[in-house]
Symmetry: D2
Subunit: 299 residues, 4 copies
């Protein structure tokens, strides 16, 4: 790849240094060209790791939209508003929330009505603060909170309705959906019907935790069904990978998943859609399955 | 109990004879005084089991509201509309749906958007047919369908919104909520906030199936939290039991559950609500837990 | 199929009449030629349903091994010992236990040490009663008991060791294994290593219940891994289907599963076992996956 | 507490510095007096954090049994054998394994028979290396491995039998047992029956993950049943806490759990054991439950 995408890291704490940066350094086609952090010590740490990058204590004026392709926001919550402004100025397509700390762990810990209001009002406030920016909530059943408020697609849609703003949507993560005991292809239709689908992420797990495995390794047929559902809603935006290979090489794992997504996509070209439609109209589960198994099993 | 409640069974198939009737016969304070079924053979079966009851091939004119206290509708779907009319004429407070067959079992079996529309439109049609009748959907994650469309409180609220009718609400079954990986006290607030709470049922299970165990036997603290949430929304209507003791005597099991609900209710009188509120406002899970454990553990 | 297998039903209660018989009547290649039941009324019921079958109040002398191919034991527990004798006389390869009622439902209900002893001693007693007969326990995590004593392969192996008899083994049901949170190919190796594998059954489910779906419809890759593990232990005996199509035609569903098993078997012929071995020796999960995905996805 | 327990940390990598040390520093009654690490940089880090502690590049001669009360082994696997020798010399009662990395993540990744042998042989080798030392395996269903080899009590007992050594037992963690879909009081009896119970740990979770919550906060009745089972086997050794309060103060959380365990213990003094035995002998679940609920609910 001759042309790298150029990015800035905003907030260079431990998460950025030890969690984000190693990925950027290993990946082909990406370069971190700027780091923003108010702490001199943290900027020194960034300079040690990224000798060619510019560093700055403040966001303003550091970069302009022509030279930065993406921003990795890793600053603490109190600085998010400012970061959102900058991301908007840079032309970011959307800003994603992953409110994994909102919820409860124990019975009787929470006034659930109050917690719900906090979560809804907090997102609304941010959405109203930046009405030109598209936001998206990535729901998840648990972790780190044992019970997360925005746990399923349907709960998140209800919350978004209650916010009464038009610039909040949903990131649908295939694995979060499995883990929430949903059928991913089903909730994809539901979120799309409400006009709230902002982004789509794929990976795999064993339905009990966000294992973030490579695509199609456990739920191959459901992944195919999900990609079919994406075609039906004419999804043209990228399908993102959100996987976390604990023991595998991250780049190899990413390539494996991309290869699988492409192969599944080619397979979909060969599904007889009329026959599939007929089987579904007739609620004939075995006929629908046969169409798919014939493709996978070379029958 | 000196005064029995008098009921009619509408539709006397196998479910009514072998599933419903034995319960009515064993329970104190209930009497089945009328059976309606178009089949002479089924009426004969009813007469053999209930010599004092009147039987009839048609609903009309058989009974009037003054002598019947409740109607047990056990007829097949094609006859439901007529049964609803009669229930309404008799002053039934609500008619409950349990759409346990709506959904899918296999990947690729369903066009999920179509299945959702069927479910939403079907209930809307009935609701519009009888606009004076209150309906309620009892959601459940699965069984008998492996994936039921109305699986959680939030999905059912979204569906009810889409129906655009005002006479459909929700039956919140504590065990179905556990089984759907919800926090029952949390979804109680959510359904109440939307003004859709029609009925409440209690029981217990192990969070993986609708075991329909006696109340408070596994999730004692969460049952207490649920009863506390019912007080907070000033629920005055009955709290129903929906348990299914496979091996225990049903009447003994019902009495055990009633006894537990009453004891939990007395315990709630002793919770210091100001301290609980303070702990919840401070997100102090351990302080909230201590209030409850002190009561249960006699500290 | 020109030659039918001839069977006898021993015990013609409701389970046999309504649960077993309809299946035999619908299936190709099977004929019920004899029914044994001590009750005249039940024999009359059998004669009404099976005009050509012989009926008898007692087992002895009714049939001999040359004309009966299989026995469907549907009598209550008190009669099992006698039925085992007859099955042995007829040359049955093994007698299967499914102790789905042994266990507990509630906390504090059971003295767990006592319950374990009951389960172990009960099976041992039967095994010692018929030392020439091979028995096999089909373990299952739950249903109908909420917690079944013989819930996993490992617990059952421990129990069999404690029995100290040589004629009790295990029926390994793929779906029960998924449902017990096991990896089926893993426990297959474990049971085989202990020399206790008596029979193997396949189907599929969603890992939370014994849904008894058609083979390979949800866990296609794990089914392939299971068939691969069966090859590795050189399993030559039949692979049985244990599925329960609630809404699908049972014969169509059985044919679909047989077709899938055969196609997966053909696919296994094409796996490069040296490469697979190399990937496994290197703990290279992605390389192992790639071998399999290349086959399924036509890469 | 006037007298502190004095400990040494062996291996001062990131886990020790950021994971272990902060806990020791905050806890009352503990003091880290020595740190062993071969790296000068790591020893310098230790000295910066623990100015009063002695540091050393090697284990030998650093400390003797009279002045060290406990050893926190945080060195990498290659150094474990040496650390075990030292722990033994210091009089450690047992050395615990938590083989959370042994297992597999993906289908087809592992030759399950090989993985099992690795796990069994690895522990056997260590046990034979130090035959005077008692070892104990803390089984867990998953995390960090998605499927851990020693996942349940029964699998671990089978593995220990296969090792053929007498100095390997089990650490039974209440929460790991819930999470493995076991009944903790049941497997306690099973492990005890095999003479392999080495240590017991308590905490709580939501049965789907090792949430490590404070004791009795979710499964109060099962915790009581577990403590009852400990009395029945006359367990006299300490009951350890293994909890991980993400958001709560760790010392407050530990005190809350200790308080709950003590209160449950007092409650057990008041259970009528003859009545409980009679209810269990009769398999009368409701009578057994009533005994417990009467205590908890002040009936």
């Amino acid at each position: 790849m001759t042309l790298s995408r150029r990015g800035a890291i905003v907030g260079f704490g431990g998460v950025a240094e030890h969690g984000h940066l190693p990925g950027w350094l290993r990946a082909d086609g990406f370069e971190i060209v700027a780091v923003v952090d108010p702490s001199p010590a943290r900027r020194a740490a960034a300079e040690a790791r990224l000798p060619k990058a510019r560093t700055s204590a403040v966001l303003d004026g550091l970069f302009d939209a022509t030279e930065i392709d993406f921003v990795d926001i890793a600053s603490p919550p109190a600085h998010h508003a400012r970061a959102i402004e900058v991301a908007a100025a840079l032309g970011a397509k959307y800003v994603k929330f992953w409110p994994g700390q909102d919820g409860h762990d124990y019975p009787f810990q929470a006034d659930h009505a109050q917690i719900w209001d906090y979560a809804v009002n907090g997102v609304r406030e941010i959405a109203e603060f930046a009405p030109q920016t598209q936001f998206a909530i990535e729901y998840k059943a648990k972790e780190p909170r044992v019970h997360i408020t925005f746990s399923t697609a349907a709960r998140t849609l209800l919350a978004i309705q209650e916010m009464g703003v038009s610039n909040v949507g949903i990131v649908l993560d295939f694995g979060h959906s499995l883990f929430a005991k949903e059928t991913p292809a089903d909730v994809l239709q539901l979120v799309h019907k409400h006009g709230k689908l902002v982004s789509v992420e794929v990976n795999d797990n064993w339905r009990e935790w966000d294992d973030d495995l490579a695509v199609g390794t456990v739920h191959l047929i459901e992944t195919l069904e999900f990609l079919h559902a994406l075609r039906r809603i004419k999804w043209e935006a990228p399908i993102l990978l959100d996987q976390f290979p604990f023991r595998e090489d991250p780049v190899t794992a990413a390539r494996a998943s991309i290869r699988t997504v492409r192969a599944l996509d080619r397979l979909l070209d060969r599904v007889d859609l009329n026959q599939l439609r007929a089987a579904q109209d007739a609620q004939d589960a075995l006929a629908a399955q046969r169409l798919i198994q014939d493709l996978l099993l070379h029958n």
